[in-house]
C-alpha cells in the first residue's frame, strides 16, 4: 500500500524539479554562454540608470573607447563606454568581442587600464583607489562588463534583474 504513495511523491518531486528549473521571466537570457545575446548598449544604459554614481558619467565615442582601453579594433564588435568627468574614477564599459579569445584580450586590456588608473589616483585622489581596486568585471562568453563604482552589489542586482546573470 505504501508503494503507490511513494511513487506519487516521487512523481510530484520530479514535477517540482522540472518547474523550478524553468524560469517564468520574459527578460531572462539563456545562461548558456554560447547562446548569450546581450544588447551591449542597453546593458550599459541600464547600469548607468540604476547605479547611484557620484559623478556625472557620459557616453563616449567608440573610437575614444578603443583608445582609452588600448584595444585592438578587430577584437571589438560592439561597445558602449561611459566615463566620469575626472572627479571620480567611475566608469562603465560593456563590450561584445568578436569571439571568446578576443573577450579575454579585452579583459586583459581593461585590467591594465584599471592598474594604471590606480597608480594615477594613488597620489591625486586616493579615495578613488578602493573602487578601482575592487571593480565589477565579468567576462561571459564574448561579453565583457566593467563597472567601477562603490556599488558592486547593485551592479549584480541590475544584471540579475535584466539579464539573469
Amino acid at each position: 500500500m505504501h508503494k503507490p504513495r511513494i511513487i506519487i511523491v516521487l512523481i510530484l518531486i520530479a514535477v517540482m524539479m522540472i518547474f523550478t528549473s524553468c524560469r517564468n521571466n520574459d527578460n531572462d537570457y539563456d545562461l548558456n554562454e554560447n547562446n548569450l545575446d546581450l544588447n551591449v548598449s542597453e546593458c550599459a544604459d541600464k547600469l548607468k540608470e540604476n547605479i547611484p554614481f557620484e559623478d556625472t558619467i557620459t557616453a563616449i565615442d567608440d573610437k575614444m573607447g578603443i583608445a582609452i582601453y588600448q584595444l585592438n579594433t578587430e577584437d571589438v564588435a560592439e561597445q558602449k563606454v561611459y566615463v566620469s568627468t575626472g572627479a571620480t574614477a567611475e566608469q562603465i564599459a560593456v563590450f561584445e568581442a568578436t569571439d571568446d579569445n578576443a573577450a579575454k584580450r579585452i579583459e586583459t586590456a581593461v585590467l591594465q587600464r584599471i592598474t594604471e588608473q590606480i597608480e594615477s589616483y594613488q597620489d591625486y585622489l586616493p579615495e578613488e583607489v578602493p573602487k578601482l581596486s575592487d571593480p565589477f568585471l565579468m567576462v561571459t562568453g564574448k561579453y565583457v562588463i566593467l563597472c567601477v563604482s562603490d556599488h558592486n552589489e547593485d551592479v549584480e542586482v541590475v544584471l540579475d534583474k535584466y539579464y539573469g546573470f
Binding site: 559623478d55 556625472t56 565615442d61 575614444m64 566620469s84 568627468t85 594615477s120 585622489l125
Partner: protein, 228 residues
C-alpha cells in the same frame, strides 16, 4: 631825449597794435585749433572658426581636466599627452619626438597652485615651451589660461581657488608674451559674471562635464585663426 623816447614808445605801441590784430594772430581757442588727426581705432581681431580636422596635426598637453576634455569633447584625431596630476615638470615631452605635429595646446597649472614659489612654476613652464620648440621649431604653441573653479570650491579651498588661478594666469600670459607664443584665454568661456566656474559645470568644482568641455572646444575653434 624825451622826444626820442616818445617816438620809441609810439613805435612800440604801433607794433603791438599791429601784431595784436586778429589777422596776424591766431586766437587760441578751441574753435580754431586745427583738427587733430584722429587716432586709429584699436584693431578688432576677426577670428575664423575652424573645423575639427584643423586639429589633425595638433597635440594637447594637460592634466586631468584636459584628460576629461579629450574623452568627452576633444578632437578625435589629435594627439594627447595628458594624465591625471600632470605638472609642468612631469610632462614626458620627449614623447613628442615620436609624432608629427604642427600645433600644441597646453593647459597646466592647477596641480601647481600649491607650489611655494610661483616663479618656479613659470620657470618650469618656460622650459617646457623651450623643449617643445626644440623638437618642432615651427609649431604654433597655444598656452591656455587655467580654467576657474566653482564658487563653492574657491571659497572653501586654500589652494584651488580663483585668486591663485588668476595670479597664475597673469604669469602665464606674461610668459606667452615673453616667449612670443599665443595665449588662449579659454577661461572666459566657462566663467560666470562673478569670476567663478559656472555652478552646473562640474560636480567637484574643478572637472568639467561634457557641456562645458564642448564650450571649451568651441572657444578654441573660434579663437585660433584670425583674418590677416
Amino acid at each position: 631825449m624825451l622826444y626820442i623816447q616818445q617816438k620809441l614808445m609810439l613805435l612800440i605801441l604801433i607794433i603791438t597794435v599791429v601784431f595784436s590784430h586778429p589777422n596776424y594772430v591766431e586766437s587760441i581757442d578751441a574753435e580754431n585749433v586745427p583738427d587733430q588727426v584722429p587716432s586709429p581705432a584699436p584693431p578688432v581681431t576677426k577670428y575664423v572658426a575652424v573645423a575639427d580636422d584643423y586639429f589633425n596635426d595638433a597635440v594637447f598637453i594637460g592634466d586631468s581636466r584636459t584628460e576629461g576634455f579629450k574623452m568627452l569633447s576633444g578632437p578625435l584625431n589629435a594627439v594627447y599627452l595628458t594624465s591625471i596630476g600632470l605638472k609642468v615638470d612631469t610632462v614626458a615631452v620627449e614623447a613628442l619626438s615620436e609624432v608629427p605635429f604642427k600645433k600644441v595646446f597646453i593647459m597646466l597649472g592647477i596641480n601647481e597652485l600649491g607650489w611655494v614659489y610661483s616663479e618656479l612654476f613659470i620657470e618650469k613652464y618656460g622650459e617646457l615651451i623651450d623643449n617643445i620648440k626644440k623638437i618642432e621649431p615651427q609649431a604654433q604653441i597655444y598656452i591656455q589660461s587655467i580654467l576657474p573653479v566653482s564658487r563653492e570650491r574657491s571659497e572653501s579651498d586654500s589652494i584651488y581657488n580663483n585668486e591663485n588661478i588668476n595670479k597664475y594666469n597673469e604669469l602665464i600670459q606674461q610668459m606667452a608674451v615673453n616667449k612670443n607664443i599665443f595665449y588662449l584665454n579659454v577661461a572666459e568661456c566657462v566663467t560666470d559674471e562673478e569670476g567663478y566656474l559656472y555652478s552646473d559645470a562640474s560636480t567637484d568644482g574643478i572637472h568639467l562635464n561634457k557641456k562645458y568641455c564642448d564650450q571649451w572646444f568651441e572657444y578654441i575653434k573660434t579663437h585660433v585663426v584670425f583674418e590677416q
